[in-house]
Every structure is written in structure tokens, then in C-alpha cells.
Amino acid sequence: MKYAISLNNVTAGYERNVVFRHLSLEISTGQFAGIVGPTGCGKTTLLKTILGTHPVFSGNVLLNGCSVDRVQPGTIGYVPQLGSVDWSFPVTVEEVIMMGLYTDKRIWPWAGRGERERIHALAHRLGIYDCLHHHIVHTSGGQRQRAFLARALINSPKLLILDEPTSGVDIKTQHEVLHLLGDISNEGITILLTTHDLNAVASHLPWVICFNNGLVAQGQPHDIFTNEILTRTYGGDIVIIKHDGHFLIANNTPLHLTRNYS
């Protein structure tokens, strides 16, 4: 079977701080998978390792069977955490999307007719055509997420990686973004994202990876969202309520036990 992402015995981390050891993980082509885990468990380090922007101590990372440092430009789409974006930077939504095309051989600063048509078509599809000429700070959370998604999709990548696409947006926008990603996944693009929102993962993603400085478990949500696995992933006591085929996941530890009010 061909894997879109394949980590073989990978150890990665920072100087004197190994984040995960001997990790082996495969994600099949066309999969729509989400990585969940507590804050500081190494989700972002794992994403950066897959993207090739974080060096590994040992092991290797293959994307579509090709070593990560030899991947053709434009075959990976990446949406960073919106919290890391400098919103005062003088760029419009159109300029942000156009950056995705900067890997092309074209050297002229301005967009060509073909490039403009691609940007407009994608903006139409993602529902951000009306705000193409707005400065990025003058857009809503959902429009921002879509603008960065458009930048990632403009090259028609085979693999799309998103770092916490559901953080900082309201529940309706979360739902819209995940639905949109579901549609994109149906076109055959492999999607891997990280998130803290277990309920959104449970209702939208077909594959879940529980991660805590190493792989805890992976599988379909109904197999993964068990008290035992989530407790191993997060620690503490997690309650899972199943209703009408849907999951509702909450922390069972009462607030007065988690905070010291004295």
C-alpha cells in the first residue's frame, strides 16, 4: 500500500530535549486525519518534522515515497497556526493567496493572467472572492482561514497539512472549515491537521491519531474515543457521551479540584 506520509523510526526534538523517540507512523493516500493531544505533547514538532522544517535526530520521513527534502515544490500545501501570522503586515487577501504561486518559475513581481484566473476561481470556490482586495486584518476569522487555505491549495497539492485550523474561530466557522476540508479530501488530497477540539474531530474526521510525545493510538473516531485511550492521551478523567451517533467529550474533573482558590 502506498502511503502519503511515512515516518520510519523517527526521533526528533530540540537540543537536549527529545520530543518523541522511534516514532513509526503511516498515513495512507487520500486520508483525512487529525492529530489530537494535550498542549506541549509534540503535535507541532511532529507536523514540522513531516514538513521537513524541523531536523530529525534519527530515522526518515517519506512523503508519497519520496524523502521529505527531495519533495517537488508545490506538492505540499501548508496552513500555519493563524496565531503566528503578523496581521499588521501590508498584504491583501489576494496577495496572500498569490504567495502560493511564488514557487513557480515566473520571476515577474506581478501576477500573470493565468495566475489571476486561478486565484479568482479558487477564491470563488472558497467564498472569499468579495474580500480579495481587503487587507488581511480587515477579514473575519473564517475568511482568514480560507485565505491561507487558498494559498495552500493554489498549487493543487497532493498533501495538505494544517496546524490547528480550528483554533481562534467560532463553532460555526469551525464546522464550515472542517466541512470544506472534507470536500477537499473527497477530491483525493491527503489531509493532516492538528487540533485541540475533540468534538469537532469526532464529528468531522474519519481518522484520528492520539499523540502524547509518541503515538498513543490511531483509528476511526468510534474506536479511538474511548475513556481508556483518551485518559492515556490526556491524563485526567475524560467523559465520553454518545448521543444519536455523535460524541460529546468533556473533562470529568470538577473545576474546584483543578484550581486552587485559596
Binding site: 522544517t53 505540499i76 511564488y102 514557487t103 494559498r151
Partner: protein, 315 residues
């Protein structure tokens, strides 16, 4: 018109004017990336390192520019190397490396007092002492920087906005950063005799910050900053001639004045727009942060229907 043409009769003024025009435009262009990449302090530091290099180069019988370029580049590489593992922040690295190189220059000058005078130009600028050779160097650096920035527009913009994503998308961000450091160092060296080491930072930053207040589009910011830099250089030169003041300092002061004017206009415009966008509905006052045509139309419709209802009730 006479006051504009009269100084052009002097060769030293023509040289100075041309140098100020090119240096202003060059610094305006490079300055956009300097402020957006958060490198304002790097610009300031590199100018000091280049000064140290110029002194060392002169002492060792090298060319003034060659010594400055070598030390400037060495400083850029050292800062990059020291900050690589993240333990030492760039501002601290710049403080150590560039100030040490500047201090080296000062120590050499204090030991070999015979050439103290000629380095005052590099410290405080001596635009009226610009020679044809200086003009050639400034012209070459300006032209090559403009060409490089034109062809590197896309990778430079992407890596400035989002360095990590640019890397993922296949842009060689390390090479882009190195090339930009080289262009910045060359621009600083070319500007050193015009505005002086002590004032280069202002020449780099002020046009770009003024342009940033005028637009939200990157491409326009580049063009505006380039034009503002050139205007500042030319106007500063004329003002320094008229008021018989130091040229470098006058250029910097004129740039600061343009910045203040732009900030004042922006402030008044925002106040005016805030008032214009205030709406009252059913006794509730609210405001829209930016001009939205459809919102205005909706409000007009709502306001007219509200006034219609009031008229109906009055009847």
C-alpha cells in the same frame, strides 16, 4: 524657480543632489524589507560594523569600501551564526558584534591620529564632499539592488511574511536571507559617506514607515517608500543649502517631518471617518470600522424605512 536652479551651478551640489537622490531611493526600497523583517536594529548595527571595517581597510592600505564591505558582511554572518540556536537573541548579538567592530575602528583612529579627519565624513556624513568615484559606487549599488529586488520580489515577500511556510513551499529561505543581508550591507556602505553611520538607520526606516501609513498593499508600499526616500533626499539637500545646515542631518529631519505630517493626516482622516461611519438606529449609536458600500446602502434603506414608520405614526 531661481532658488532651485541656482545651487545647480555648483558641481559639489550637483554631485550631492544626485547622491542624495540615489541613496534616498535605495534606502527607501531596502528599508521596506528592513522594517517588515524586524531588522531595524540590524541596519543600525551593520552601519557601525562597516565603519570599523572602513577604518581597518584604510589602515591596511585596502580600499575604504572593500574594508567596510568585508566587515559588514562578516558582522551579518556572525550575527546569523550566533542567533542560530535561539539562545542569544538577535538584538543582543547585534549589540556585541557590531559595537565591537565599531569600537575597533575608534581604537585604531585614536592610535593613528593622522587620518582622524577623513573618517568624520563616514560618521556624520559629508555629502558635499562626494566624488565621482563615490557617485559611481552609489549608482552601481542602487542599480544592482533594484535589479536584484525586482527579480527576487516573490521569494523576498513570501519569506518576509511567513518564513516557515515559504520554506515548505520550496523557497530557499536561507539563500534569500543571505542575499538580502548582502544587499543591505552594500546599501549601508554606499550611504555611509552621504548621511553618515550615525544617521543611516533613520534613512532606512523613515520612508518605509511613512509609506506603511499610506497603504495596506505591499507592492504600493515599496513604490511609495522608494519615491518618499528620493523626495526626502532631494528636498533635504536643497534645505541644507538654503539654511546652510549639515546635509545628512537635514535629510533625516525632513524625513521625520514627512512622517509626522503623514501621521497627522492619517489621524485626522481616521477621526473624520469614525464620525462619518457613526450611525444611529432606534437611539443606538454604533460604528463600522471601514467603509463598506453594502453596509452604507443597508443603513440608508433602514434609515428611510425608519423615518417612514415615524411619519406613518405621526399621521
Amino acid at each position: 524657480m531661481e532658488f532651485l536652479l541656482e545651487p545647480l551651478g555648483y558641481e559639489f551640489f550637483r554631485h550631492g543632489l544626485l547622491a542624495a537622490l540615489m541613496v534616498g531611493a535605495l534606502c527607501g526600497l531596502v528599508g521596506v524589507y528592513v522594517i517588515l523583517r524586524g531588522m531595524s536594529y540590524v541596519g543600525h548595527g551593520l552601519s557601525h560594523a562597516a565603519f570599523g571595517g572602513a577604518v581597518v581597510g584604510f589602515t591596511l592600505n585596502f580600499n575604504f569600501y572593500a574594508g567596510a564591505a568585508a566587515m559588514g558582511l562578516l558582522a551579518a554572518l556572525l550575527i546569523n551564526r550566533i542567533t542560530k540556536n535561539g539562545k542569544i537573541k538577535s538584538d543582543a548579538a547585534i549589540g556585541i558584534v557590531t559595537t565591537a567592530m565599531f569600537a575597533l575602528g575608534v581604537v585604531i583612529i585614536s592610535q593613528v591620529r593622522t587620518f582622524t579627519q577623513s573618517f568624520e565624513a563616514a560618521l556624520f556624513g559629508n555629502i558635499l564632499g562626494i566624488t565621482s568615484k563615490d557617485l559611481l559606487v552609489i549608482g552601481l549599488v542602487t542599480a544592482s539592488t533594484m535589479i536584484a529586488m525586482f527579480f527576487m520580489y516573490r521569494p523576498l515577500l513570501f519569506s518576509t511574511f511567513d518564513n516557515e511556510a515559504a520554506r515548505v513551499f520550496g523557497i530557499r529561505t536561507g539563500i534569500v536571507q543571505l542575499t538580502f543581508s548582502l544587499l543591505l550591507t552594500l546599501s549601508i556602505i554606499a550611504s555611509m559617506n552621504v548621511v553618515g553611520v550615525t544617521m543611516i538607520a533613520a534613512t532606512l526606516i523613515t520612508p518605509a514607515v511613512t509609506a506603511r501609513m499610506m497603504t495596506d498593499r505591499f507592492s504600493r508600499m515599496l513604490i511609495y517608500s522608494f519615491i518618499i526616500g528620493a523626495i526626502t533626499g532631494v528636498a533635504g539637500m536643497y534645505l541644507s543649502y538654503i539654511f546652510n545646515a549639515a546635509s545628512g542631518a537635514t535629510i533625516v529631519l525632513f524625513g521625520a517631518l514627512l512622517f509626522c505630517l503623514t501621521a497627522a493626516i492619517k489621524f485626522i482622516r481616521e477621526k473624520f471617518m469614525l464620525r462619518a461611519n457613526l450611525h444611529r438606529h432606534g437611539g443606538l449609536m454604533h460604528f463600522h470600522p471601514h467603509d463598506e458600500g453594502h453596509i452604507s446602502r443597508d443603513h440608508e434603506r433602514e434609515s428611510s424605512s425608519e423615518s417612514g414608520e415615524v411619519a406613518q405614526k405621526a399621521k
